[in-house]
Amino acid sequence: MKVLLFGLIAEKAGASEIDVQGSSTGELRQALTGRIVGLDRMMYAIAVDRRIVHEDIPLTGSEEIAVLPPFAGG
């Protein structure tokens, strides 16, 4: 599924989106760690349909998924 990337994480991946597979946010985290060098040492959050999700939840593949580094607005 398509995953949106932002800020430092987009820079590290060299792309603003990436295609990875995962039937849950937990699996997604593992898949992303294999694809983006250094992600395991970065602080980031996963947003599912524009809401940050801390727990491991199932994904159907139709959700809008984004990987977000720390916020810096203001």
Binding site: L4, F6, G7, L68, P70, F71, A72, G73, G74
Partner: protein, 151 residues
């Protein structure tokens, strides 16, 4: 005809810095509202912090726009519920490259009395900083950069 009030999603983002004149213009628009006694304004200005001994020259802002606007709509609704006397709330944030000394963020609240305007601005500023997916790349001399993180 839904029982739930429909809340318009407003675009808070502007390309480039916020012009100081825009602050005055925003306030001037409220002169016809004779129930307003107090305006409180917060403005964020890009600081020339030193990063690894090098001064920040600008911040390049990007955002996850759709999520940011959804979050902002929720924050607006909660602000009006918490301070029902508040008459207006205006929020603007820059995208793109904002130089040191330029303005990148504005929150303006107006109310009959100062307490509501003051509290609402403080609360909205803090919520925007912690909840809106906005990212800042600090541009340093020699084409280097660092990523800003809110304290």
């Amino acid at each position: 005809m839904s029982a739930t009030k429909q809340h318009k999603v407003r675009d808070i983002f502007v390309e480039g810095p916020i012009d100081p004149d825009f602050v005055g213009e925003s306030i001037a628009k409220h002169a016809t509202r004779h129930d307003i006694g107090a305006h409180e304004v917060f403005l964020g200005q890009v600081r020339g912090d030193e990063v690894d001994g090098k001064p920040v020259q600008a911040i390049a802002y990007t955002a996850y726009r759709d999520m940011a606007l959804e979050r902002m709509t929720a924050i607006r609704e909660e602000a009006f519920a918490r301070w029902p006397s508040m008459t207006c709330l205006h929020v603007h944030h820059s995208l793109g490259t904002i130089k040191t000394g330029e303005l990148c963020f504005m929150v303006l609240a107006s109310a009959p009395h100062r307490q509501a305007a003051r509290e609402a601005v403080a609360w909205v500023v803090d919520r925007v900083k912690s909840e809106l997916p906005i990212f800042g790349k600090e541009i340093l001399p020699d084409s280097t950069h660092a990523w800003k993180v809110n304290r």
